[in-house]
Amino acid sequence: MEFNADNIIYWEWDFIRINATLIYSWMVMGFLTIGAWTVTSRIDPQTSISRWQHLLEAVVTLIREQIQEASRQEPDRYLPFIGTLFLYILVSNVMDVVPGFTGPTTSLSTTAALATIVFFAVPVFGIMRQGVKGYLSQYLKPTPFMLPFNIIGEISRTVALAIRLFGNIMSGSLIVAILVSLAPLFFPVAMQAFSLLIGVIQAYVFAILALVYIASGQRSRSSIIEATEEETQTNTTINNESEV
């Protein structure tokens, strides 16, 4: 078994290399794009709809509900970005079970690229919401002494995002590869079923964490004050009730 799919190179010209990770991520992208395009080209506002339209509507509704509950904001702002991340990671994790297919998320370069996208999406969404000055002033809160720690936190959580996804998915496929050489009859199937579960959970976790990072970069000063006021109000009501 090749440990790193980046080292399987199909075509090379000067500094341009087409390796297995690229091919498989193009396959996932093509699968998602063609699938969504064929379904939405025959979209129908009637009450009786095709089963594939049902599937897509259920998926989009699910993602919208989850974004709504996790961020407590209007979900349509985040739906394209978070939904794309979730579906791409989900499909590549699940298709990792297909024999001969190496999911692109088993390579650190793919997960690092995804985490870098999240890293740059946080300031983009934050600046769109509250302007350059409002966004940058967040780094000086609560005191300007926290500036280096805020920056380090931003970088380290990006690295953690990449390593978490890569380690979880790659460990699943590595354990299956080891078990195939030790006990090839039944145990690899059980571990693959387990890695299906892990893959779905990790896709969910990646999307939710990206959403949480983006939403925390958007928190304007007024909303924080509102939240603390609400909290103090509930605290006082609780105190009053206990006194009564």
Binding site: E69, I163, R164, G167, N168, S171, L174, Y204, V205
Partner: protein, 92 residues
């Protein structure tokens, strides 16, 4: 014992220790988090979707420390920089 043998032996022993020590802490933490979540669901069954979602995200965060140890163990075994350095020195 030459340098390659020493580096290989120490790498294998330390990678075993890395994954052993690194899996104990997250296992204790995850067990504690799971038991607390079960208690919370038993007390407030209506809140179980929120509790489950927070539990999954939290478990993934806790588990990531074990994953870091796993990645370090893999680097020690499969992509050891010192090993490569010594082999390059011997070859060149």
């Amino acid at each position: 014992m030459d340098a390659i043998t020493t580096i290989g032996m120490i790498s294998i022993i330390v990678s075993g220790f890395t994954i052993a020590v690194g899996s104990v802490g997250p296992a204790l933490g995850e067990g504690k988090a799971l038991s607390q979540a079960l208690t919370a669901i038993a007390q407030q069954p209506d809140e179980s979707p929120t509790i489950t979602r927070t539990l999954f995200v939290g478990l993934a965060m806790v588990e990531s420390t074990a994953i870091y140890c796993f990645v370090v163990a893999l680097i020690l075994i499969f992509a050891n920089p010192f090993w490569d350095y010594v082999i390059n020195m011997a070859g060149g």
